[in-house]
Every structure is written in C-alpha cells, then in structure tokens.
C-alpha cells in the first residue's frame, strides 16, 4: 500500500486502477493456491486425486465466499468495521438451534428426515432469531459501539454455554449424532449439504450482483440513505436475512469460526481501499479464498498439520480484532 494515498486526495481513476490491480492480484493468488492445493504431493491415480481434492476445493471456496460476503454485508448495514455476524453470536445461535432441534425431536426422528428439510428448518429458526436479535440491538435507541460489541460477545458466550448445557442433558447417543452434525472440519464436508449450500449462496450472490448500488447507498448510513430513497427498515432486514442464510450455510458446513470473516474483510479493505461493493465484495471473497485455500495447502502439505487451520485463523483473527479495537480508540 502506498503511504501517500492516505494523505493526498486520490482521484477516482487512481483508486479504480488500484482496486483493479488488487482484484487481479488476489484472483491470481487464489488461482495459484487452488492449483497448488489440487496438485501438490499427489500420489496414485490422478482421476481420483482430482475428484477428491476438487470436492474439498469446492467446499473451501463456498465457505470462504459465504463468510466473507456475510461479514461485509453485516458491516455495511451496521455501519462499522469491527462487527461481524459471528462476533455478534450468529454462529452460536446456529449451534444452539441445532442442539434444541435434537433435544426436542430426538435423533431417531431426525435421522428419518431428509437432511435438506432439516437444514431448511434450522435456517428458518436462525433467520427468525437473528431478526429478533437485530431489531433489539440496532433498531432501538442509539448506543455505544463498545457496549454493543460486549453485548454481542457475551451473548455469544451465553448461547454457546446454553447449547453446551442442553448437550449435557442429552442422551449420550443423541449427543454423538449432534456432535457429528456440529463439528465438521474444513476438510470433511457433507456433499448433500454442499449442494444445497452452493444453490443458496449462488442465489444470494445473484441478488447481490443486481443490487450493488443499493448496498453502496445503505453503506452511507441511515439518514443519507433514507434521503436517497432507500426504504431503510425493509432493505436492512432483507440484507440481514441474506446474512443469516450465508452464516447458516457456512456454520452448517464447517461449524463456528469466530474471527475468519473479520480477518478476510479487514485485509480486503486494506487491499482495495474503497467501500464500493462492486469491488469490496469480490475482494473480500477472494481474500477469504486465498486465506483458506492457501492456509490449508500450507498446513496440510508443508507442515502435515491436519485440522489446525481453524485454530490458526482464530489466533490471527483475534489479533486483528484487538488491533482494530485499539485503533478505534485512537481515532
């Protein structure tokens, strides 16, 4: 990043070039990482390796895209750069709703159900919950960012411990079923769910692609946006519903990852230096892919660590969060 870009006014053309350059670099990086991921250390039949790793790669791309886009959207709607859905407890909500579903229905009934139906049920529960949470936190009186963050973080802890408590109340057998449902890893993704996930995420992405300008206006904040003809409440709730869908997809596939979205979104903002969604959304998505695929390749192939990627991401994401908090205090 050029340091003078911060001080001198940047012309639109300059910022456009920079954004394009960043996107191209990111895209190239993702392509390279994906190629390495597919080929490095392969032994035996290529047909098998490519198919096996191709599935994993599709999963990683899906998760990266869902997490990054949901984070950027959430940040746009709430008008700040620290909040992310998972920090506000969305992931924990998903874990809790799955737990409650098993607790009330029992694993026998659940295993008889179509997994797609089950996923739909969890999705609806979660969307309703998150709408309620959002209205309570954001559409009420104006409040300080720190209190909001703390509320979200503690609320997340509450939901997680509540889920843990309900899990303890379950039969050990039912608990086994549940932990299979909840604690998937980046490398072990259910193909049926992945199909649904791709369909949902593609639909959301298409809607977003047609409404990029509207997102830009929402990002200007409520007063300006309303002046420019945005129906604030309706549009914001719609965007939040989309966020819920994306979070549900990623959480259903890999389980909760608290700081990944924040890490990807913050790095993408740093890279493109613009808030235009036409640039920011793809950049965040590509950054997330680069982190996830590159990280997985490095850890799996070079260091032979298997599922530690989530932990490494949590570590660096947490550090980024602290830095953002400290910078926010300085301003």
């Amino acid at each position: 990043m050029q340091p003078e870009a911060r001080i001198l006014p940047v012309t639109p053309a300059q910022s456009e070039t920079r954004a394009q350059l960043a996107l191209i670099l990111l895209g190239g990086g993702v392509f390279l990482a994906a190629a390495l991921f597919m080929t490095l250390g392969a032994r035996g039949s290529w047909a098998f390796v490519l198919q096996f790793r191709g599935m994993k790669l599709l999963g990683l791309i899906l998760i990266a895209h869902a997490v990054a886009v949901s984070t950027v959207l959430f940040q746009t709607v709430t008008a700040n750069r620290i909040l992310t859905p998972s920090i506000m407890g969305f992931d924990a909500l998903f874990v809790l709703s799955s737990t409650l579903l098993i607790a009330f229905m029992g694993s026998v009934q659940l295993s008889g159900l179509d997994p797609r139906l089950l996923f739909a049920a969890r999705l609806i529960v979660m969307t309703l919950f998150s709408m309620a949470l959002y209205r309570w936190l954001f559409l009420g009186e104006e409040q300080s960012l720190h209190r909001l963050l703390l509320t979200g973080v503690v609320f997340g802890i509450f939901l997680r411990t509540l889920a843990e408590f309900v899990q303890r109340m379950l039969d050990p057998n039912e608990f086994m079923v549940l932990s299979d449902m909840l604690f998937a890893s980046f490398t072990k993704i259910d193909p049926v769910l992945m199909g649904i996930g791709w369909a949902l995420v593609l639909a959301v992405t298409l809607w977003l692609a047609r409404n990029l300008a509207r997102l830009d206006v929402i990002g200007l904040g409520r007063p300006v946006a309303v002046n420019l003809g945005i129906r604030w409440r309706r549009d914001v709730l719609l965007v939040l519903a989309l966020v819920s869908v994306l979070v549900a997809v990623s959480t259903a596939l890999v389980g909760p990852v608290t700081f990944f979205g924040l890490l990807a979104a913050s790095l993408a903002r740093l890279a493109v230096g613009t808030t235009r969604h036409a640039v920011l959304l793809p950049a965040a998505s590509l950054t997330a892919m680069l982190l996830l695929i590159g990280g997985q390749t490095l850890l799996e192939r070079l260091f032979a660590f298997n599922t530690a990627l989530g932990i490494v991401i949590e570590f660096f994401g947490g550090v980024v969060f602290l830095i953002l908090l400290l910078k926010g205090g300085r301003r």
């Binding site: 720190h146 963050l149 509320t151 843990e164 660590f305 932990i311 570590f315 602290l322 205090g329």
Partner: protein
Amino acid sequence: MRLGLAFLLVAALAAISLTVGVSGLSLSRLLAGDGRDWLILWESRVPRTLALLLAGASMAIAGLLMQIVIRNRFVEPSTTGTVEAAGLGLLVMTLLAPGAPVIVKMAVGAVFALGGTGLFLLVLRRVPLRDQMIVPLIGIILTGVLHAATTFFAYRADLMQTVLAWTQGDLSGVLRGRYELLWLGAAMAAVAWIAADRFTLAGLGRDMATSLGLAHGRVLALGLSIVSGVTAVVVVTVGIIPFLGLIVPNLVSLALGDNMRRAVPWVAVSGAGLVLACDILGRILRAPYEIPVGTILGVIGSLTFLILILKGRRNAA
C-alpha cells in the same frame, strides 16, 4: 447478623452436598459404622464439598480484588486472559516436565497467569479512551487469542483431553489427596482480606493513592499476584469456573456498596454458596450423569453478565 444467616445457608447447602451423589448415603448406616458409607463420605463427598467451598470463595475474592485493582466492574480472571494463561502454563509444564509435582506445575501456572494479566494491562495501556465496556471486551478477545494458542499446541501434542479438563470446571474427579492445594488458594485470598484497605486505596487510582502515602505499584503487584496464584490453584485442581468472580462481587456491591473490607466476607460466602448450589444442581439434574459446575455457572454467569451490561445501558441513557 445477616452474614450469620448466609453462613447458615451455605452450611445447609454443604450438608446437602454431602448426601447427594450416585451412591446413596444413609445416616443410619453411618451411625452404625458402615465401612463403605464412611469411605464414600471421607474419600469423596467431604473433599468435594470442601473443594467447592474453597474454590468458590477464593475465586469470588480474586474477582473482587481484580475489579478493585484494575478499576473496572466487568473484569475477572476469566475475562482478562489470566485463566487462559494459567492453562497455557500448565500445558507447557505437561509438555516439558510431565513428572513435576503438582505444586511446581501450579507455581509455573501462576507465573504464566501473572504474565497473561500483565499482557492484558499492557494492551489496555494503549487504549486512551477507557470506557467501562472496552476493558472486558479486550480481555475476552485476548482470552480467545490465548485459547487459540493453547489449543494449537495441545492439538499438536495430542493433549486436547488434558486441556479440556482445565477449561471445564468439573468436580466429579475430586477425591481426598487431589484438592488440598485449594487451601493454599484460600490462604492467598485471606491475605487479600487482610490487606483489603490498601487495595481499596489503590482502587482510587495511582495519583490519589500515592498522595495518601501508598506504594501504589507494590500494592498493585501484590494484588495481581494474589489473583494469579488463586487462579492457577483453582485451574489446576478443578478447572475454570467461569464468571464467578464477576457476578458475585457485582451482585454484592449492588446490595452493599463498594467498601472492600465489608464486602469480602459477603463475597466469599456468596461465592462458595453459588458454586455449591450449582454443583448440587449439576449432580441431580441429569443423575446418574453429571453436568459440570463450569457449564451451569457458564450459563448463569453469562446471562447475569449480559443483564449487568444492559442495565448499564438503561442507566446511561
């Protein structure tokens, strides 16, 4: 007088705790000198009850001490990185010197805990705008970062099971010979009581305390050392008991105000009582299985914490 009633209540809870468990005890058989019943009582129930009392009281006092010294209502060892750092220290000892006696492991844990607290204070110092909310927020995130580091090493060394034992306050494994270290924790908490006035002064802030003739830095160091020591003892013997040190002092101060010397006995009694009640609940809710006390307190504690935060919102508005 009211404190006496509270003591009685806790004593009653302790008596209940002696009788609740998977294998039944009966008074008549105890009086008849039944060997099996006495064995269960001495080897398991009495140690467990004592461990609950000691851990509850000393963790609650540690929380109070930390809140006074750091001057923030929402800090306690599990929201400042202290607990996680202690766990990291124990993990390091398990990796490097697995044969070391528990007291040595605990000492190393305490040193790490102090280091974690120091790191937290160092980060805090970089925040010029210190509103009440950002302090625990930074602490919780720091805890998450330390937790990720601990998990990473534990995962590499195949020690996840061991780490899980520390991160979940669970007393089902407490037997005679496995909890006595907690007396040391209680002794440290007692020092905090004796020196309560100094800490109250230190809580007025450095300038004020110094002008009143207090060696502020030294008192601060003593306070944080006590907190770290108690934390390490509790983590190594029974595991993390989350939010106890946060909610108990806050509830007590709602009732009594902020004088530490007056608050300490109340905090100790309420902390012990709350942990006892939660553990008894954990033993009967899902008998014959047990729900760890850490899980129950996690739910109650985080909910109370949430209410405290939101209550502040209404007051501020």
